[in-house]
């Protein structure tokens, strides 16, 4: 049979005819990516505002009447859930996954475009359901982003009626949306690559997104299972997770349920979720570093192996989140060991990023400084993770701000810095214009230094024993007055970082409208997405013929070659030599 690329089959071409099909009910992966990205950023801004409100309360207690203990807990919960699921997961996989996969592997679109469109609209529905919980009686749930029972569904917890139900429904819809998208991503990577694009020639961005998607497909069911069972406990009064207890002076009708069972389920999803966010970020930062250092990524094979190894190991470390949960103490040894083992491939990646920079021709562009910033923040967050992975260190620190500082450095700041690096890096491709360099510089330095001003002192607060999740510290003897001063300083820094994101938003808006039009492939990158006939790429990406790939994506500064990069589509015979 003659070879017909999947995206070239007539039935797969779905040329949009009207404004509605082009920009609203679009099946084009690039439009869907931007829809995903825009929605994720907007809902992320809500979460950013919530964090600002939390910080106002912590920095200046007894000052703001509109923040009470209930609303504080609701802010904490919604901030966490939105940031982890509805911003990071959606933006990294729904946004960048959608945009980059077909372009980087040389396909015209995703393999199942209709399913892809359905994925976005289901995601939007899940966001709307979640946002609706702000407007129902009792407000959104304040159970903490981990939604631990029994308190999540008991009276006394804010949002224990409608809030928690909407949260669980929203998560269910999100998981359906993710599954539809995820099936598309893995199948497109496996089946729709251009001729010559072997798996080991794929850029690391695609490897990261690919493995993260598989993790998502295998981990999100755990969240679904826990959400369904908790919904039964809430609505039908079953006792999967609900033990016999006294609530508001009354004995509950439930007996025998196990809250720890929920925690196991939640973290069986929750820890792979860390890598669902981290692996695409690892991949994208590798590509940004390589392009802007004009050097091939150091240890490509090892980087791929590390991604795969981290993906596998991420399923056997979950209970390190539960050292203080009352689970069998002997588990601690196992999970501490696996946690330390997962640090090995992760450290390999960090070394390889640094070694990619070593003797590179480093261009300190905006994407590059964000990527280098990521190496710092990720190393810091990773090192504190090694502390907390050990049971004896985790026990005293678990409920303190040390943990808040750790996971924000490793899972908040680090992927967000990569997201910014990636947005600045691929902005010219998506828009055909360059962004404003000065605004980008301001954005980076305020964000990078600002986040350090927020999270470094937070580690110290944790060592002091300042407990997390508390609305106010009250008159606690073991917390010195200076801790409050530090808290005020952190709040000021956090507000500055929050406001500094205006530089980013303004930059994007003015650059889309009036940014300098850029040449094709402004970074002189070798990977396929920059080699489309049009920039931004048109519907179908590749014009009449699909590209043919002759090399990996990292041929930078190749000895003997005249240019400092060789595009993936250039055959060996067409490489211009230095002496010609």
């Amino acid at each position: 049979m003659s070879y017909v690329a999947i995206a070239d089959q007539v039935s797969e071409l779905h040329d949009p005819q009207s404004f509605i099909t082009k920009y609203v009910w679009s099946q084009d992966h690039k439009v869907i990516a931007i829809q995903y990205g825009t929605t994720a950023v907007l809902v992320g801004l809500v979460a950013l505002v919530l964090s600002g409100l939390m910080r106002l309360q912590l920095g200046f207690p007894d000052t703001f009447d509109f923040i009470d203990p209930n609303s504080y807990l609701q802010f904490v919960t919604m901030h966490g859930m939105i940031m982890v699921i509805y911003l990071l997961t959606a933006l990294l996989l729904g946004g960048f996954g959608n945009y980059l996969i077909p372009l980087m592997v040389g396909a015209r679109d995703m393999v199942f475009p209709f399913l892809n469109m359905l994925s976005y609209w289901s995601y939007l529905l899940s966001v709307i359901i979640l946002m609706a919980s702000f407007f129902v009686p009792g407000g959104p749930t304040g159970a903490g982003w981990t939604l631990y029972p029994p308190q999540a569904i008991l009276p006394g917890t804010p949002g224990a009626d409608w809030g928690i139900i909407l949260m669980l429904v929203s998560l269910g819809v999100f998981i359906v949306a993710f599954t539809m998208g995820g099936l598309n991503y893995v199948t497109t990577v496996l089946q729709a690559r251009a001729r010559g694009m072997t798996l080991m020639r794929m850029p690391l961005s695609i490897w990261g997104i690919f493995v993260a998607t598989i993790l998502g497909l295998l981990a999100f069911p755990a969240l679904l299972v826990s959400a369904v069972m908790m919904m039964f406990d809430k609505v039908l009064a079953t006792s999967f997770f609900m033990p016999a207890l006294v609530s508001l002076g009354e004995h509950s009708e439930t007996v025998g349920g196990s809250p720890v069972l929920f925690q196991h389920l939640f973290w069986f999803f929750g820890h792979p979720e860390v890598y669902i966010v981290a692996l695409p970020a690892f991949g994208m930062v590798s590509d940004v570093l390589s392009v802007h250092a004009r050097k091939n990524i150091f240890g490509y094979r090892m980087m791929v192996w590390a991604i795969v190894a981290i993906g596998g190991l991420s399923f056997v470390v979950w209970a390190h989140h539960m050292y203080v949960s009352g689970m069998n103490p002997t588990f601690g040894f196992f999970f501490a060991t696996t946690t330390l083992i997962i640090a090995v491939p992760t450290a390999i990646k960090v070394y390889n990023w640094v070694l990619t920079l070593w003797r590179g021709n480093i261009h300190m562009t905006i994407p590059m400084i964000f990527a280098i910033g990521f190496i710092f923040t990720f190393t810091h967050g990773g090192l504190t993770g090694l502390f907390l992975g050990n049971v004896v260190i985790d026990l005293p620190l678990s409920d303190t701000y040390f943990v808040v500082a750790h996971f924000h450095m490793v899972m908040g700041v680090s992927p967000i810095l990569v997201l910014f690096a990636a947005i600045y890096h691929w902005f010219p491709l998506a828009s055909g214009r360059m962004f404003n360099e000065r605004l980008g510089q301001l954005h980076f330095w305020f964000t990078f230094l600002g986040t350090y001003a927020v999270y470094l002192p937070m580690h110290y607060l944790g060592f002091l024993g300042v407990p997390r999740r508390y609305f106010a510290m009250g008159n606690t003897d073991f917390i010195p007055e200076s801790a409050q001063t530090l808290n005020s300083g952190i709040t000021v820094a956090a507000l500055i970082v929050g406001l500094a994101q205006i530089f980013f938003i303004v930059n994007i808006i003015i650059s889309i409208r009036g940014g300098r039009k850029c040449d094709k492939n402004p970074w002189n990158a070798a990977s396929l997405e920059w080699l489309t006939p049009d920039m931004p790429p048109h519907h179908g990406n590749w014009g009449k013929t699909l590209p043919e790939v002759h090399r990996w994506a990292y041929d930078y500064s190749v000895p003997g070659a005249k240019d400092d990069f060789i595009p993936q589509t250039t055959p060996e015979s067409e490489v211009v030599k230095e002496n010609t």
Partner: protein, 225 residues
């Protein structure tokens, strides 16, 4: 695909034009099979986790299995066997449909598919009757964790079959509308895999539902409880 071999390649040394990725998907079936496999993988995780929590939950003192003693509803699992038989015949019918579709015997394929639809629908109705039976006996959803798991697992299993039925009906309808035999044949082949998978899931659920307290204790002991 040789995973180790693939991961051992050294892409920086190889600048050849490269091979074609996959020649087998001329009719668009292969990507769908891959997507279906991943989907069934996700579903397997979901059912496995339900089952693991079921076994864990069975070790708490309030748990009462649905079988084992004479007064328990699945002491005599005849109803379950009848339902199993219906789903089994549905599976045979869809397998036959797939066989005829491969041989391009359209008429037989459609007839067999109709049988599959009818028997699967009957299975679903029989499952609902089983719910009603248990409800009438006083086995409510919240009165015991074993009941809760029974209702939740059969509901989720049934919902997946309903989804499969919708896909099959869509395949039939679009076959009559567009007359695309390849598309019809592909759908049937994919659904066949889906049906067999959910038959196996049902057998596992059947075994769990009819397990006695002692069996749960043994299972839990094997899991380290």
């Amino acid at each position: 695909m040789n995973i180790i071999g693939t991961l051992s390649q050294k892409p920086w040394l190889d600048n050849s034009p490269g091979e074609i990725i996959d020649e087998t998907f001329g009719n668009g079936l292969r990507p769908k099979q891959i997507a279906l496999n991943f989907f069934l993988g996700a579903v397997t995780v979901m059912f496995s986790l339900f089952i693991v929590t079921f076994v864990a939950r069975s070790q708490y003192p309030d748990f009462q299995a649905l079988a084992g003693d004479v007064w328990q509803p699945f002491y005599d699992p005849m109803r379950l066997w009848v339902n199993t038989g219906l789903l089994f015949i549905g599976g045979i019918a869809i397998q036959a449909s797939s066989y005829f579709a491969k041989k391009e015997k359209t008429k037989y394929a459609v007839i067999a598919l109709a049988f599959a639809l009818v028997f699967t629908l009957q299975f679903l109705v029989a499952q609902m009757m089983l719910w009603q039976h248990l409800h009438n006996l006083g086995y409510y959803v919240a009165s015991n964790p074993a009941n809760s798991y029974f209702y939740i697992l059969t509901a989720i299993h049934g919902m997946h079959l309903v989804g499969g039925l919708l896909v099959l009906m869509n395949a039939l309808l679009s076959f009559y509308r567009k007359n695309s035999f390849i598309q019809f044949s592909n759908s049937v082949r994919l659904c066949t895999r889906y049906w067999h998978y959910f038959f196996v899931v049902w057998l596992v659920l059947f075994a769990l539902m009819t397990s006695s307290t002692e069996t749960f204790e043994t299972l839990a002991a094997l899991c380290g409880y």
